[in-house]
């Protein structure tokens, strides 16, 4: 290679070069080894009656029992319902809060760069730490939330947040909103800043008030960013493991057991890895559909 001369014209439309393949090779090999191969193992396991995955033993006979069991299991449909509820509630709250904070700190005022930093700060708090914070705020005996609710007269005796199904769901949702809204805020702020000031200036000249500017300029210009962000937030809730697992473990009475939690519980709680893989594969199919949806929403970015 040393001293060799290359007549590589990168501007040419058909740029093919062996270097392109060589550069790609490490990524292909590594992705094949740590993502694609495991995915195949997962699919394979889901068609076997396996307790603990052992790859050094001959595979068990092919069976669709895991899937039959899955689709007839009330736990599975319960997990789907919990996941859906969580996605709808947390996504809407994250988007409202994220959009609101982004609009707020997009105003001109002194110290706004500091305000922008603060408003999205929960993004930088690891999920497990957010769980520690909210587990204590919602502590049944000495938690702040019970005290606030009691002093305001909302309740007359303390709520046992982690043994009541509805209350536990509310705690999980609150924690996820707090952890999730900053991402929406950051994305929306970036979207807002990419709208040229001229649009607003022109609208002002034409006599549009603040509300009209929001509806006719901000809204349509922000829509693509908000669409992609919404899907990313939904996928995050869909996949999330640590917040729910550490906060409630999926309980009480499976009230916070999403598909992710159910997969993990079956695999590493009950050691039914074949069954768990079947849940995981169904989860994956839903994810792929969502990913496709996202790509069709944002074609210009691909």
């Amino acid at each position: 290679m040393a001293g060799g001369r290359f007549s590589l014209d990168l501007a040419r439309p058909s740029r093919q070069h062996w270097l392109g393949y060589i550069l790609l090779a490490p990524a292909v090999l590594l992705i094949a080894a740590i993502i694609i191969y495991p995915l195949f193992v997962s699919v394979d396991l889901s068609f076997q009656n396996v307790g603990i995955a052992r790859l050094d033993q001959p595979r068990r006979p092919f069976t669709t029992a895991n899937y039959e069991r899955l689709f007839t299991s009330p736990d599975f449909w319960n997990a789907c319902w919990v996941t859906l509820k969580l996605i709808v509630i947390v996504t809407s709250a994250c988007c409202l809060l994220g959009l609101g904070t982004a609009l707020l700190v997009n105003n001109r005022f002194k110290g706004r760069s500091l305000a922008r930093l603060f408003v999205a700060m929960p993004w930088a708090v690891p999920e497990v730490i957010a769980v520690v914070i909210f587990a204590w705020i919602f502590d049944s005996s000495f938690g702040l939330m019970n005290w606030i609710f009691l002093s305001l007269g909302f309740i007359d005796k303390t709520i046992n947040w982690f043994s009541d199904p509805t209350a536990a769901f509310a705690v999980v949702a609150t924690t996820m909103v707090w952890k999730g809204y900053p991402f929406v805020s950051i994305m929306c702020l970036a979207g807002l800043q990419s709208i040229p000031d001229d649009y607003y200036a022109a609208a002002r000249v034409d006599g549009a008030n603040a509300w009209q500017r929001l509806i006719h300029i901000t809204r349509p210009n922000l829509r693509p960013v908000l669409g992609v962000t919404t899907i990313l937030v939904m996928l995050w809730i869909f996949r999330d493991f640590s917040i729910i697992y550490v906060l409630t473990g999926g309980g009480p009475l499976k009230a916070t057991q999403t598909l992710s939690i159910m997969t993990y519980e079956q695999a590493f709680g009950f050691f039914r890895m074949g069954y768990a893989s079947a849940i995981g594969v169904v989860t994956l199919i839903i994810c792929v559909i969502a990913a496709k949806l996202m790509m069709s929403r944002a074609p210009e970015n691909l």
Binding site: L30, I31, I35, W178, R239
Partner: protein, 276 residues
Amino acid sequence: MRQSPLARLFIYASVILTCAVLLFPIYWLVVTALSQPDQLRQLPPKFWPDEPRWSVFGKILEERPILLWLGNSALAALGAVTISMVVSVLAGYSLSRFRVRGGQSLGLFILTAKMLPATLLVIPLFGIFRMTGLIGSLWSIILAHATLIIPFTTWMLKGYFDTIPRELEQAAMVDGCSPWGALVRVILPVSAPGLAATALYGFVLSWSDYAYARTFLTNAQGNWTANLGITTMKGEYISNWADISAAAILVALPILAIYLFLERYLVGGLTAGSEK
């Protein structure tokens, strides 16, 4: 463009109120850590401890191997980021500059891989790592974290490379640089901010992981990461919230510091990576 004083007052009031509400949980974590343990079992709660107990951090560092956990987290993150960066710099450059057969579908696959649930991959990886004897070793999470990081970093870097004009490499090659030389001597120095942002983002992803560490390292106490260590403290029979909070602050501090001082890089990477 002048705002009326009333409008300005309204904006300041809303900003301060919003930040106060949204950041209260972080404030409460600090207050809890600095309170005397018996004070936490009193109502009404105190919103600032009478005598802030700064010694709690020294105490918790002595009682728990938090430095070990932080060190493990850092090692795992550095390992995973190093592997991911080397691999994705090359792949991102290739996807950005060369027309490679299958490159498009690889790009699409990587995009989809960002959405894979960890709970799905964790089962086969558990089997694979058991067979290869990696369970309990830091290598298990270094490799697993790479599955989290590579899809992000490859797309982020491709995005950065796309913004660099091709004429730059052409000029270098006219001057006698090989394509490889152009990458190393021209493109990489120019994209240093992008590389930093990408690496930081990967670091945050790795540092925040809990699922993989919980699965692969639970029985290897010496290799616990910070997040795993913290959750074992929470699971104890009597939770000492002051101690847990102090430990939580120490664990959250590195990422918070990165965020507060390098926010520009991190957020730039976040938005660039997510639009792709």
